[in-house]
């Protein structure tokens, strides 16, 4: 387990991570790399303390600051950083050569074993620029693990992972997670990666942790509007509670220029302002055919339609975004499909409405 409390340039965080993958999620400049660098010892924080298992890696108060080579943290850098002038084999040998008391033969045996484990037998004698991206990726992780680190720090490349490589990347990380019992800190910008691999995630923005917890919980219940924006949640509306009915388990919410029925909001009072959000896919949208809006239906002008892989995204005036299945969209009359600026009716199902920071 690692405990981290650091303040450095533009970063001020405190968290701990157990064995398994903990994702540091945030955009550019959120401080992900700065945190990894502080733990690895590449950058010195101004204050704080880092404890890995029972060893103090850094403590500003007692002026402990272990050099990187004594921290036993495997580090996977954003651009892999395989030494370009060495073969993959020699890259793997590099961390072992620094270990005292490991015989030459034993080193080579371990390199061979690791090459096999990461399916790199044939790529072993070749240089990084001569092997495939997938092999480079596996070699980097293999090199970080071969010296028996106490934890793994992974700075996921933000760009350059195509679909196939991303699948390979996830496969390798899953293997590391399942085969070793290491705490892994994974800096990523990809929410799907968090969901697929991480047991918990830290939501980072401008060097601070906005929220932490299981990815599912974080995404379902963002604590603040900043957190929700960071998670890419659309359809965020500020609303005022105009009525609460615990008996029928409902509430009445006033948005900018319309009112909605919502679920009962425990712990809230009438007159409170809250942030509401709803998934684009859960809105029901249909062209207005002359009928009046029923309960929880809102008339909105369609501003833009854009196609996605499996759905069509409809953007309405007032910041409402809905997604409907491609198939349903194709069924619409032609003049409705082709013309923007039509009036539509958008329905907000009460049970799909979520209030930020409300369980």
């Amino acid at each position: 387990m690692i405990q981290v409390r650091v303040a450095a340039q533009g970063v001020d965080v405190e968290f701990h991570a157990d064995p398994g993958i903990t994702a540091l999620f945030g955009g550019a400049g959120a401080g992900k790399t700065a945190i990894l660098d502080a733990i690895a010892g590449f950058a010195t924080p101004t204050s704080g303390r880092i404890i890995l298992d029972d060893r103090i890696l850094f403590d500003a108060a007692s002026q402990v600051n272990l050099p990187p080579r004594r921290r036993h943290c495997g580090y996977v850098a954003r651009h892999w950083a395989l030494f370009p002038h060495m073969s993959l084999q020699d890259n793997l040998l590099f961390p072992l050569a620094g270990l005292a008391g490991v015989a030459r033969r034993e080193r080579h045996r371990r390199v061979r074993e690791t090459l096999n484990r990461f399916e790199l037998q044939e790529a072993g004698p070749r240089h990084p620029h001569e092997v495939s991206p997938a092999e480079r990726l596996r070699a980097t992780v293999a090199r970080a693990l071969i010296g028996d680190p106490k934890m793994l720090l992974v700075d996921e490349p933000a760009a350059g992972l195509d679909m196939a490589l991303r699948a390979e990347w996830h496969k390798v990380l899953r293997m590391v997670r399942d085969d070793t019992n290491l705490p892994v800190l994974l800096a990523t910008r990809d929410l799907d990666t968090c969901f697929e691999l991480a047991a918990s995630m830290l939501l980072l923005d401008a060097g601070r942790i906005l929220q932490s917890g299981r990815p599912r919980n974080v995404v379902d219940q963002p604590v603040s509007v900043e957190a929700a924006r960071l998670l890419g949640i659309r359809n965020l509306f500020s609303a005022e509670i105009v009525a609460l009915d615990p008996g029928r388990n409902t509430s009445r919410l006033r948005l900018e220029n319309f009112e909605l029925n919502g679920p009962y909001l425990p712990g809230r009072l009438r007159g409170d302002r809250v942030w509401l959000c709803i998934e684009p896919g859960q809105l029901h949208a249909a062209p207005q055919d002359g009928s009046k809006p029923s309960a929880n239906q809102v008339a909105a002008r369609l501003e833009r339609t854009s196609e996605m892989a499996l759905a069509v995204r409809l953007e309405f005036a007032g910041g409402i975004v809905a997604e409907i299945a491609r198939h349903d969209f194709e069924q619409l009359p032609k003049d409705q499909k082709d013309n923007d600026n039509k009036e539509w009716l958008v329905e907000f199902p009460p049970q799909a409405l979520r209030v930020l920071g409300c369980p």
Binding site: A77, F83, H85, F94
Partner: protein, 188 residues
């Protein structure tokens, strides 16, 4: 006219020693400036670059003027020392650029994999920067070899036999030009 090759050999020897001396100072300094920036490192950099803007004659004059305390006399060693000082800025500048061109992530990776600073330098920085460093050494050598002003003053004062190639060529050119002019011909 029999050719005397000793000036060439001497010139190479002199330039070699001057470059080596400058290299010994420039490499650690360049590493320090690129990897461990400290307070006042810009001042150090500026000082090391001073010979670049001083005319060689001025440089030699100052060194000689100090010779009461400075163990510099008209001698072969003095010429090498002056050459080294004269070559240092160029070498430092190019080596800094060469070392800075190595991506820090490689060096950090090595440190994270258990390598100390020496091993990181020897196994990672040096092999990745060698082209730049070699270019720096060659440029420094060429500069030391071609330098005329400083060495001519210091070494020629050392007495017979210490004539370096550039100085020898200058003397030869002067002789040739003088002859042509005396005979009423154009200098070329």
């Amino acid at each position: 006219m029999p050719l005397d090759w000793s000036a060439l050999g001497l010139g190479l020897r002199y330039a070699g020693w001057a470059t080596l001396l400058a290299l010994l100072a420039a490499l650690p300094l360049a590493w320090l400036l690129t990897h461990r920036p400290f307070r006042g490192c810009e001042l150090l950099d500026a000082t090391a670059n001073l010979p670049l803007v001083l005319p060689p004659a001025v440089l030699v004059y100052y060194l000689l003027a100090e010779s009461g305390r400075w163990p510099l006399h008209f001698s072969w060693h003095a010429a090498v020392a002056v050459g080294a000082i004269y070559t240092l800025p160029l070498l430092l500048r190019m080596m800094r650029a060469g070392l800075a061109a190595v991506d820090h992530s490689f060096e950090n990776a090595a440190r994270g994999l258990g390598a100390g600073e020496w091993r990181t330098f020897g196994r990672i920085t040096l092999p990745l920067a060698w082209r730049g460093l070699l270019a720096a050494v060659l440029a420094g050598f060429a500069r030391a070899f071609a330098d005329f002003g400083a060495t001519a003053i210091v070494a020629s004062g050392a007495g017979n036999g210490w004539l370096l190639l550039p100085a020898a060529m200058a003397a030869l050119a002067a002789l040739y030009l003088g002859n042509r002019l005396r005979r009423g011909l154009s200098p070329a």
